[in-house]
């Protein structure tokens, strides 16, 4: 049985096609879900793709967080369904309170579009199980607002509960100032929710799936996601 992945489309999303292509490349089915839809009952997983939802007016992801579909995503996530937010999708998850913290303008106000090294910090989640902890992978970033911040209490909690999924690092896996592309607190590139079924990340794993374009280091995120569906 093939699983079905919902790829949510907001006005201003622009990476939904990449997500669908990557999911289908790995042998699963996906379908676009419009931001006004309120029923995710037919789906096994949800992807919030990158882009500029609602023009990112007010703040990145701020208006999208109040769209009708996000009620359904909140409900889907609370029942343990896997949710992956990529780039703008991560910003939307933070604005809607599904993940803690916020994403500010990059340090130095530089838009960064470049492949980066990431250290996998946990394989204990529906979305990172196909990686090995400590593994260094290369995935592209493409954002202006990826500078993660949260309160010191939240940071303690994220660290203590093994909820930092990825950190920016150099090719050897060391966390250095130079390898942090946007000034993110503690070099954080992606985090998990308490239930470990919601992952938000700034890098674009869907652009690192096909060896012909951008390498294959992002495959394992989608493979983890798809594996969790067939084994449940």
């Amino acid at each position: 049985m093939s699983s079905r992945v919902a790829v949510v489309v907001f006005p201003g999303s622009n990476c939904e096609q990449d997500a669908v292509t990557a999911i289908e490349y790995l042998g699963s089915e996906s379908e676009y879900v419009w931001h006004l839809d309120t029923d995710l009952g037919a789906f096994d997983a949800v992807v919030l793709p990158g882009g500029f939802a609602y023009g990112d007016y007010l703040r990145t992801g701020a208006i999208a967080a109040f769209s009708p579909v996000m009620e359904a995503v909140r409900d889907f996530a609370s029942r343990g369904g896997p949710v992956l937010g990529i780039c703008n999708g991560f910003q939307i998850l933070c604005e809607s309170g599904l993940l803690p913290g916020a994403l500010r303008r990059n340090a130095g106000l530089k838009f960064r579009c470049v492949p980066v090294n990431l250290r996998v910090e946990t394989s204990d989640s529906l979305l990172t199980s196909e990686y090995k902890k400590g593994e260094v992978i290369e995935i592209p970033i493409n954002h202006f607002e990826g500078n993660y911040i949260c309160s010191s209490e939240t940071l303690e909690q994220l660290r203590g509960e093994d909820r930092v999924a990825f950190r920016y690092c150099d090719s050897a896996g060391a966390l250095t100032a130079e390898s942090n592309p946007n000034g993110a607190l503690d070099s954080i590139a992606g985090i998990l929710n308490e239930g470990r079924n919601v992952l938000g990340m700034m890098p674009h794993p869907e652009r690192a799936v096909d060896p012909a374009v951008g390498g294959t280091d992002g495959q394992a995120i989608l493979r983890s996601l798809l594996k969790s569906l067939t084994s449940s």
Binding site: R59, G101, S151
Partner: protein
């Protein structure tokens, strides 16, 4: 009645402000030395329809907390603006 307000949304004091820092670093090289403590926020002007100024302010307070600002990184201040727009 309509009441006019301005909401100033600023990055929280305890949080670094990448925009402010970048502007501050650029100013001396553009010929404006001696400027520090630069912080960049936004000002939202609006009108609220309500029975009283208190009711209007109360509604705006809630909207600012939930929508106009992100309490994780920002703080806001509501200021009553002149309600007559004459001469502007």
């Amino acid at each position: 009645m309509k009441f006019r307000f301005a909401v100033d949304v600023m990055p929280k004091k305890e949080i670094s402000d990448p925009q402010g820092q970048t502007v501050e670093r650029a100013l001396p090289s553009l010929g404006y030395p001696g400027i520090s403590q630069v912080r960049v926020g936004k000002r939202i002007t609006l009108e609220v329809e309500a029975d009283s100024e208190d009711a209007a302010r109360d509604l705006l307070e809630r909207a600012s907390e939930r929508v106009l600002s992100n309490p994780v990184i920002e703080e806001f201040e509501i200021e009553a603006a002149e309600s007559s727009g004459a001469g502007r």
